[in-house]
Homo-oligomer: 154 residues x 6
């Protein structure tokens, strides 16, 4: 899979969706686990509210990772949460061609991530961290920085 | 407030909505707390999934109770969960005129709770526990028992 | 309250938040009820997923309305859902100064709703229905129409 | 797959579940995307609230479609939302034998969708759109129209 | 699969995730269905709040079961809910080595379920039902019973 | 209100619950807004998933603040999100007597926040940030650090 340039349009076939239901892990730990899972190379980590037996509000942890990452991810889940098992299934991931460029706004430079189809830019997202930093430096609303980028993106 | 017959249409003005956010109470305990709160006379107890700081999936506990019940309810929340506080505000509760009657279906008797406006029945709900018991006794789907009641309710 | 021009900054003090928990109303009906409540003059109607006793996934209906609308709103909830009661509490609503203007994009005209503070426009939202219609007419993505408006809003 | 009469009991093996996580697409656009996806032949489209990194409340879009529809569905998601990728996996769909019939209530005709097992009707759902129209025409609660149908369904 | 001692670390490859979207099943029935599905041998049953078309708050039912249980599970879902179909996909389930032991607290005995990796206990969960019973017998908060167990688990 | 020592049991009567529904603010901005609101002195800030009209998955922002903070909080919400208004209502906040102490575990020191009733400690929560730092320094699971604290708390 890693023979393709990662920013070209391609489909990854060796990905896994991992999931686990948690009804006795405190929410405080779950914020921590998310961090650890990203550090271990999970592509995406997210929580969904669920309802389990015995009137238990609970949380489903889901993440995407390559098969190579499975052991690391499994280790973190098993050591950092209260579950006694995990489950997973293969999932196909399509990724658009993407590239980044930098635009210069009245507040400073912002990296923009672009998505392309047939070599045409069909979407462009200002990088959150850049915008956040400019908003804080210039003491303006975050959305003004985004708006400054959008005006430039034609 | 308790001078009115409880099944007549009336408005209760001494009710409170109590709420607390919980990000470090395991879900297992929350099922238990719900039970205790109903036993203490809360009229309604329910959980809402919320998102708190530091990426914590969490739960908001809410309940309705009369002002007389506040101390008992507060005691349970403070001793059975991890919170260090609770909050509450007054809420007005309108209750329809209600009465119950028993209908005889092909599976047996079911209590039906009726809601009335201007002495006219505008809604009728079969009691869940009755229907459940008949479904189990007769080994039929629960919804067949409800359907049997609905056919009778004209 | 209605002595002020509705688009000036003002605070409405006669508003109510109405809420009801629903664990035996089918979802199909809830879409319908939302429509009826908006037609009756509710300012906002929304649903929140909740968990009720006996492992019941349920829904909380909430809405904002003026005290004058309470009777109509109550009537709809009591006749169209399965609840036997509703509850409500006063809520203060602050509304920014607002005005609308029309901008001309490459796809056509779009009304923009602006919010002002101290006579300065601090936010501007393209009207969804206008953008939707242009997107459909011109067979372009909805977000391209929004982007076209954003470029004009300086 | 399309060699079977679509209303007979059968299992579809060429179906896909498609999903995408969205943390920077405004909710306004998501209502629009749902419409477009249904028009493109998705069998089911739904949203689930999720929590993503950096304290972002977000939404997971999921849908069911046949493999033949994948390209159309992918195109809509990539052009109408902010995501740079989608993911999917095969899913087996079992469909009950189904048929429709029309029942005549005191309010008018309502189509009823029936589900059968071994040629026996085990469930029957009044068509929402029919009931809605009759409720509006006759100015009665929607649930009265459903109740009228239920009384006829024996 | 059943040739392994069930408490040893192992991976089950013949498991299925079953799911169904429900927008017209009342919440009352869903609590009942959960019970029936556990009785039929589902390993896990849970609900997720979802949003379906036409502004319908709805619920996704998901469960894990072995392929041998599929027919029973399918039967319950089709007879007890309003759906006309179900869907499912294979899922791999990893289970840690587990064992139970009993610890004696100041309130009485509590079974503890332990999870092991490489013969080392890496997690230990007091059994909820034991703790609940002791809390009720001794009239102490449930969390005091858990705390009593935790102090013993070194 | 500020005449009491803040760690004694007391009830704050000048608090407000502020809320706003957001259906067109991207999730990315919402993480940012939460941060700003805490910096402005909000006591609690949280998000709840809601469903709004036109099939829009949306988010309700809620927060607690004193009346003195209202103007700052309002300013942030109005400048950083897309809403044209906010709403609020008074809420009574009861706070337990609380104190902190430091315990020395095998991994290092951890601050513990204790809640008292009638001078008796009825709950004790290890500070998350302390535990997190020790877990990272010692390369052990976060829950092992919590467990180390729990063993000491008698
Ligand atoms: Ni790749
Ligand atoms: Ni600068
Ligand atoms: Ni009363
Ligand atoms: Ni019988
Ligand atoms: Ni007004
Ligand atoms: Ni045009
Ligand atoms: Ni088919
Ligand atoms: Ni007619
Ligand atoms: Ni096994
Ligand atoms: Ni004992
Ligand atoms: Ni205070
Ligand atoms: Ni150390």
């Amino acid at each position: 899979m890693r023979s393709h340039p990662p920013d070209q349009e391609h489909t990854d076939d060796n990905m896994l969706k991992v999931e686990v239901n948690l009804d006795d892990t405190p929410g405080e730990w779950l914020g921590y686990v998310m961090e650890k899972l990203f550090e271990a190379g999970a592509n995406d980590v997210y929580y969904t509210p669920i309802y389990m037996k015995k009137n238990r509000p609970a949380v489903q942890l889901q993440l995407l990772c390559s098969q190579q990452r499975l052991e690391d991810v499994k280790h973190i889940i098993l050591t950092e949460t209260t579950t006694l098992g995990i489950r997973y299934y293969p999932i196909t991931v399509f990724r658009m061609e993407r590239r980044t460029r930098v635009v210069t706004t009245e507040y400073g430079n912002v990296t923009v991530k672009e998505g392309l189809q047939n070599d045409i830019v069909i979407k462009a997202s200002p990088e959150y961290e850049d915008c956040k930093q400019l908003a804080e430096t210039h003491q303006v609303p975050l959305k003004d920085v985004y708006a400054a980028v959008w005006r430039i993106l034609k």
